[in-house]
């Protein structure tokens, strides 16, 4: 059984309380809004890519601690990286969070390994991956993305009563 407490580690709580790169950017080269219809949470991601490199990135939105910390740590991880590097990281993060790869097998994951625990919490995986989905949507000029989108590998109907 997963130790749920391990998910709410200091680093996640800290990024939740003091999110980095929080806000919007005036003239982003890429922008997207991500929705999690299960809880009504949404975040925006603004990116400035210049000559293939992420010069600036910001996010904003109402969300749970897992989502906010994931977004905050995503921005600090990809800032200054090339778009290709960021895309590799997106794939690794999605694979780790959905339990397809263990974090040891994600060479670029680094401190983002604190999110490995969500793979044991099916209802919380979507919270962690929403920012990464949204960044991916921004890169691919999908203005609005959703964790419930058809093409989402995590798409799973979750009932509500």
């Amino acid at each position: 059984m997963a130790d749920y407490k391990s998910l709410y580690q200091e680093v996640i709580l800290d990024h939740n309380k003091k999110p980095r790169n929080y806000g919007t950017i005036e003239h982003p080269s890429h922008h997207a809004v991500g929705h999690n219809p299960l809880c009504g949470d949404h975040i925006t991601v603004d990116v400035v890519v210049d000559e293939g490199r992420i010069n600036n990135i910001a996010f904003q939105g109402e969300s749970c601690a897992i989502c906010k910390a994931s977004a905050s740590m995503m921005t600090t991880s990809v800032k200054g990286k090339t778009r290709e590097e960021a895309e590799t990281l997106i794939q690794e993060f999605l694979a780790m969070a959905t339990g397809k790869l263990s974090h040891e097998n994600c060479p670029h994951i680094g401190r983002l390994a604190v999110f490995a625990g969500v793979s044991d919490l099916p209802t919380r995986v979507k919270c962690a991956i929403l920012p990464w989905h949204t960044l991916n949507g921004a890169f691919n000029a999908v203005a609005s993305t959703s964790t419930e989108a058809e093409e989402d590998p995590m798409h799973a109907p979750i009932g509500d009563a």
Partner: protein, 419 residues
């Protein structure tokens, strides 16, 4: 008097033997994350006592066959047990006749049945349907589908900040295009108990029929459909200590008779030729195909179980739990209760400052406490309260004051983690 003494006093107002009742529910002995399960998600679905489990096993071991069609022994036994279950449900809600009790798959299907059977026949372009802000999506979406198909209009009764319907506004919504009212007896998101008897009388004075969504009321209070004088009353078995896949639509006989069938198939017909089909009488007209026979019989056993305890005793114990929990939770700084209606069922929706409901749900689960977090399929309520979601503890008669204490301690732990 110290706070402790007050607590003692509040905790001992009913002589309800909750420990004896808990012994009937095997699932309540579970441990979750090495902690005793504290199940506070009863508004989503309740747990099943051994008596109902045993009834299901007995049926499958000794009584199963298809109903209403065979002349052999088992078919006769199954048919008579199924119809006996219908009569148990009839008594449970004090319906005038057993043919007014239709087995459906749940509240959702019951409401859809009324939308198709009544709405599509009697509601047309320009007609108006009154619903309330407190409705579950199950009592919104079918009517939206109908309104779209027919060009009808939906009018919505607003609520105040406490989560109470504004009855003056309800009355003002009526005009000569008003053809139908759909209202929830108890709000699943906030617990508000609506004054449906008065609302029904007002609608009837204008010749308008009323459907009551009783999904959250039937498990917690005595229902008397004749006293309420409602036209339709819908509820689900799985919130009533019964199985999933079964629910009830009560309908007044003359209304049911005037309606068109919902689904076509076997059992709902008297005769079929390719030229003409004659429909069966009610309730069978609305029960096409083989029904969930075991689930219906299980639900019959569940209402026997609840009636033996007594719905009044159940309601009294739950009110004690609600009062104690509300008092305790209100004493925590930074916690806000949503839904403070004067008349409330044992549903406690709350928000903790600075902590998202999903984080609360995950952290309480770590303590073995099951609460619901989200919009509770009642997004209009959430929009009205300007929150995306809440955390909701919903109590049943088998919950204890100690479990309330566990919830309160759990919320304090959550706050500690987030400070």
């Amino acid at each position: 008097m110290s706070a402790n003494q007050t607590t003692q006093k509040i905790r001992s107002t009913s002589a309800f033997d909750v420990e004896r009742i808990r012994a009937d529910f095997p699932i309540l002995k579970l441990k979750v994350n090495d902690k005793p399960l504290v199940y506070l998600d009863n508004a989503a679905s309740s747990q099943m006592p051994q008596q109902v489990i045993d009834r299901l096993v007995y049926y499958q071991t000794k009584q199963h066959a298809n109903i209403h069609r065979g002349v052999h022994y088992l078919s006769e036994v199954a048919t008579s047990e199924f119809e006996e279950a219908r009569r148990k449900l009839q008594r449970f809600i004090n319906a005038n006749e057993d043919r007014e009790v239709i087995f459906t798959s749940g509240t959702t299907e019951a409401i859809n049945l009324v939308m198709h059977g009544y709405g599509r026949k009697f509601i047309g372009a320009g007609d108006e349907i009154i619903l309330t802000t407190l409705e579950h999506h199950a009592n919104i979406v079918p009517w939206q589908m109908l309104a779209e198909e027919k060009g009808a209009k939906i009018r919505v009764v607003p609520i105040n900040d406490a989560g109470e319907l504004l009855i003056d506004e309800y009355e003002k919504l009526f005009n000569d295009r008003t053809k139908f009212v759909g209202v929830t007896h108890v709000s699943n998101a906030l617990g508000s108990i609506n004054p449906i008897k008065e609302m029904i009388a007002f609608a009837h004075a204008r010749g308008v029929p009323v459907l009551v969504d009783g999904a959250q009321a039937a498990p917690h209070t005595k229902i008397d459909v004749q006293d309420l004088n409602c036209d339709f009353y819908a509820f689900s078995g799985h919130k009533l200590c019964g199985p999933t896949g079964i629910g009830i639509l009560y309908g007044r006989a003359e209304l049911l008779e005037s309606m068109q069938p919902f689904k076509g198939g076997g059992d709902m017909i008297l005769s079929v030729t390719f030229e003409k089909t004659t429909y069966n009488t009610i309730p069978h007209k609305f029960e096409a195909g083989t029904p969930p026979i075991s689930a219906a019989i299980g639900l019959g056993a569940a209402v026997d179980y609840l009636s033996a305890i007594g719905m009044d005793a159940i309601a009294a114990h739950e009110l004690d739990l609600l009062k104690y929990a509300t008092g305790q939770i209100s004493s925590i700084a930074g916690v806000r209760v949503m839904g403070t209606a004067e008349h409330k069922a044992a549903v406690l929706s709350f928000a903790v400052d600075g902590v998202h409901p999903h984080d609360i749900g995950t952290l309480l689960n770590q303590e073995g406490i099951a609460v619901r977090t989200g919009h509770h399929c009642a997004q209009p309520v959430m929009q009205r309260l300007h929150v995306p979601a809440t955390s909701r503890a919903s109590f049943a008669f088998y919950n204890t004051m100690d479990e309330v204490d566990a919830l309160i301690a759990g919320i304090r732990t959550v706050q500690k983690i987030f400070t």
